[in-house]
Symmetry: none
DNA sequence: CTTCAATTTGTATATTTATACTCTGATTTT
DNA sequence: AAAATCAGAGTATAAATATACAAATTGAAG
């Protein structure tokens, strides 16, 4: 059927470009694109597409396409929310390494800078990786606390 | 703590060797091995391990370890890229600075990333310079060892 | 040994996701 | 054209999973 495959395509596109943490939020993204279905259908679509929900090992979960479906396509970001672009965050001493969706490091780093978090001395962005240098005395915990209090909501 | 890491190890082992379709069934496998925990703990373990539940596309779901836990694929091509591009490598604490031929930083860094070396937390590339952040506890020596085992005949 | 802070876990529950059942409309068969 | 078959989707609900909170445990500092 025509409608279904259109929808499947759009779902893949959305998953590639956004950090999506639940079927409900994916659902509302789809609505914005004028695809109106229920959560049940979405669940079936995701099963069909072999999409998996994986952990960033830190603050939550997000959907991901199977590896042979997620090519390194660096596309223009419509990321407004810092958290939405972040795929993983780990620390080594005073340096944090953030992994983002491909091509999104730049915009996420910019957004991070704008937050003016006291813990952050500076950032450097590559394509899908950001280094965050912490100020002396600041810890990973300080940052995550401050971070979560500044970032009001997740997804839409 | 001792118990936890034992358990995590066993969980990885079980996931590698069985098709596991729910936390409950994983739980009972663990019980047989004398690990007694609740579903909640298991959920947290799986999050920590970044285990994901994936669909086989038709009959159901099963747990799977993240790809960098499973056998590495064809990385031979990347190895050549890495070898060819590196001009110098020096460390300051947990940060390595790699000098490359002009304009090559990007491709070398990409190749480095693909190697998925356990010592490397992340990289960011400029034009002819790459920063490499080491994981906590890892040293320059660990990296060069691991590096040379994957890439014979490179001086650092 | 005590105290304080950090980690780990269990309990209870909320949230999220899968699915049994049913309906609809499209397509094929007779 | 009616009957039979089938894929897709909605509804309601079951099943699975994540998490807030409190209790327990460990480790470090005095």
């Amino acid at each position: 059927m025509k409608d279904r495959s259109e929808r499947l395509k759009k779902i893949k596109e959305l998953i590639r470009s956004h950090r999506i943490e639940s079927q409900e939020s994916l659902l509302s993204l789809l609505e914005k694109e004028n695809f109106n279905v229920t959560q049940a259908t979405l669940s079936r679509d995701l099963k069909y597409l072999r999409v998996s929900k994986i952990s960033d090992g830190w603050s939550g979960y997000y959907y991901s396409l199977p590896t042979d479906e997620s090519p390194p396509k660096a596309e223009q970001g419509y990321i407004q929310d810092v958290r939405r672009g972040i795929v993983a965050l780990e620390f080594s001493y005073n340096i944090g390494v953030i992994k983002t969706l491909p091509g999104h490091a730049d915009s996420v780093a910019l957004a991070l800078d704008k937050l003016n978090l006291p813990e952050i001395l500076g950032t450097v962005a590559g394509d899908d990786t950001i280094f965050v240098i912490l100020r002396e005395g600041m810890t990973k915990e300080d940052l995550t606390t401050s971070f979560q209090s500044k970032i009001p909501e997740v997804d839409t």
